[in-house]
Structures are given as structure tokens and as C-alpha cells.
């Protein structure tokens, strides 16, 4: 990997705890894919070898929210489904982050009707919105790198219960 040569003869590194913890967190996000609609095809492309989100450390989809710290909501969320999404979010342990993938998850998309939630930010708090119908994998990476920048800039107490885990209505 090259790190052996770079650190040859170095026994220890001094850094700030906040910086180091955030650095570790942003490169090992365990995602929970909440995939509901056609954006899922582009999500699959993002995850598979040609584009490969694993290069950014978010490799493992965990199909239980209790093992995930990164909720990625892909596709249209209907009012019928909204309680499920909120429950999934509430089951995730701290620290946790949320990305809205695509136009529907971000704003309801063109589904301005009785069935569709007009953006998942009405159900759970969101960190990054990725527009597009669907977004190309490059856009997803851009959004993901913005999330990494957010994580790197966080203070250590960002993820206290008072600060981040509010009791949702």
C-alpha cells in the first residue's frame, strides 16, 4: 500500500483525537440501503465494480439498521412507507448519517400527489441530498464525498443524544 515505506522508522504518530476519529469514521461507513424504486438500478451500478463505492470505504450493505451508521434512501417514499423509514432510522445506533438519493427521495420528484412524501426530510433528518432522476454514479460519489467532508468537520460532541438523536414526533 505504500504506507510501510512512508512510515519506515516511525514508531508513533501524533494527531488530534477529533481528527483521527472523524477520519476513521468517514472511511468506514456501514450502509443500510433503503431502496424503494427505480433509482435502485443506479444504486446497483454505484455499488458494483465499474464505479464501486467500496473505494470510498462504504462497502458493506448491512441489512439490519442496528449494524449500520449510514442510511441511504434510494427512491420514492410513500406515506404508507414513511413509518417504516422512520423506524429504520430510529433503530440505527449513533453515530449515523443520512443521504437522500435521487429526486424522489429529496423532494418527492414529480410525484406531487396523495401517495408520495415530498422528500424524506419530512420523515427523518437528512445530511446530503443528491439530485437527479436518477443521479449518475459520479453524482452519488460527489454527494458521498460531501458527506465525508461533513463527517471530517464534525466536533466530537456532534453525536451526543441531545445533539443528534432527537425524539422524532
Amino acid at each position: 500500500m505504500g504506507i510501510e515505506q512512508k512510515l519506515a522508522g516511525v514508531d508513533f504518530i501524533a494527531t488530534r483525537a477529533e481528527f483521527f476519529i472523524n477520519w476513521a469514521r468517514k472511511w468506514s461507513l456501514f450502509q443500510y440501503p433503503f431502496v424503494t424504486a427505480c433509482c435502485g438500478m443506479e444504486f446497483m451500478s454505484t455499488m458494483c465494480s465499474k464505479f464501486d463505492l467500496a473505494r470510498f470505504g462504504a462497502e458493506f450493505p448491512r441489512f439490519t439498521p442496528r449494524q449500520a451508521d449510514f442510511l441511504i434512501v434510494v427512491g420514492t417514499v410513500s406515506h404508507k412507507q414513511a413509518p417504516i423509514l422512520r423506524r429504520v432510522y430510529q433503530q440505527m445506533c449513533l453515530p449515523k448519517w443520512v443521504i437522500a438519493f435521487g429526486a424522489c427521495a429529496s423532494s418527492g420528484g414529480f410525484y406531487d400527489n396523495y401517495a408520495t412524501v415530498q422528500g424524506i426530510d419530512k420523515v427523518i433528518p437528512v445530511d446530503v441530498f443528491i439530485p437527479g432522476c436518477p443521479p449518475r454514479p459520479e453524482m452519488v460519489f460527489d454527494g458521498f464525498m460531501k458527506l465525508q467532508a461533513i463527517i471530517q468537520a464534525e466536533k466530537l460532541d456532534t453525536h451526543t443524544v441531545e445533539n443528534k438523536y432527537r425524539t422524532l414526533p
Binding site: A115, K122, D127, K146, I150, A153
Partner: protein, 185 residues
């Protein structure tokens, strides 16, 4: 072939068939709603329309004075030769009910449930008109023309605008201009 079916229908249910047309093999017969079940029974058992394709409704609210508000539309297909037929029936707003066809084609079950929750059509004899796609708390019929387009019926309280993002009081940077992350490359 299908034209024959329409002719047969006209002959057999002379009083019930109100209108027929045939546009490029798209055969349609509009029947009185009292004849809905007998006509369907005839089509299935004698004319050989064994495949259930679709059932839906249309809301013609305010289209024409004196016109019944709803129309139920059913599409059938005969597997033997691929013939199709469409039958329709008009229902007044005061009593939007019609006989179920669930007894003839099992596939009618869910489509009638959907039609019931979306348009409020009552399928007599169906017996199980629970919501199929909507949820039990939903009030009203969303595909009717008089359902307000902006009405939402959330099942859980939604977040206000101030709660929708993670609070980062320490983060003064406006959205979209995130701090440069030097370790990202």
C-alpha cells in the same frame, strides 16, 4: 371474430347493450349495469373470454349534464385466438355500485379492491374490499376528480422545516460550500 362477439352480445342482450364500437379491432360494448354480471358470464362461459386483463374506472364529474358520473371498464381476452373485448358500465354518483366479477375470474379480486379504494365503487358480493394499495387510515377516494390534489394523509407526524437537517450549530458553513477536506484525495 370479436365483431361476432359484439353481434352476439347485441343479439343476446338487446335491451342491455347501450353502445358498441370497433376501432381497429378494439371492440367495446357499453352495457347497463344490471346486465354486468350476465354479460360477463356469457363472455366467459360461452364466448370463451378466459383471461382477465384489467378493471378500472373513470370519473366523468362535470363532463356533461345528466351523464352518470362513473364508468367501470373491464378488459377481457380470449387465449384461443387473442381476441380482446372491453365492456363498460355507467354508474350514477348517488349509488356507485356494481356486481363483482370475482366469482368468474379470480384475478378480479385485487383489481376490484383497488378500484374500490381509488374511486369508491362498491362491488356487490365482493365481500373483502379492504384497501389494497392504500392504508386503512386513509379517508376518501384519491382518484376521484374532487379529491384535492394537494391533500396528504400522513400516518406519522411529519417534521417541521427546522428539524429536517441534522443540527450543527458549530457548523457555520452554508450548505453546498463545505469545508475543503484535505484528506479526501
Amino acid at each position: 371474430m370479436s365483431m361476432e362477439t359484439i353481434d352476439l352480445l347485441k343479439e343476446r342482450f338487446a335491451d342491455a347493450v347501450e353502445e358498441t364500437h370497433n376501432f381497429r379491432s378494439d371492440h367495446t360494448a357499453r352495457v347497463k349495469r344490471e346486465a354486468w354480471l350476465p354479460v360477463a358470464t356469457f363472455l366467459r362461459n360461452e364466448a370463451g373470454f378466459d383471461m382477465w386483463i384489467d378493471l378500472t374506472a373513470a370519473d366523468y364529474q362535470g363532463r356533461e349534464e345528466g351523464l352518470p358520473r362513473f364508468e367501470v371498464i373491464c378488459h377481457l381476452r380470449r387465449m384461443k385466438d387473442g381476441a380482446r373485448i372491453r365492456i363498460k358500465a355507467r354508474l350514477p354518483e348517488s349509488d356507485p355500485s356494481i356486481d363483482t366479477l370475482k366469482t368468474l375470474w379470480k384475478g378480479a379480486d385485487w383489481m376490484e379492491r383497488e378500484c374500490h379504494e381509488m374511486y369508491g365503487i362498491d362491488f356487490k358480493g365482493h365481500g373483502d374490499q379492504r384497501p389494497l394499495l392504500l392504508y386503512a387510515e386513509f379517508v376518501g377516494f384519491p382518484l376521484r376528480k374532487d379529491y384535492p390534489i394537494g391533500r396528504r394523509q400522513p400516518r406519522i407526524p411529519l417534521l417541521g422545516s427546522e428539524e429536517r437537517r441534522f443540527s450543527r450549530p458549530e457548523d457555520e458553513t452554508p450548505h453546498g460550500h463545505l469545508p475543503e477536506d484535505k484528506n479526501n484525495g
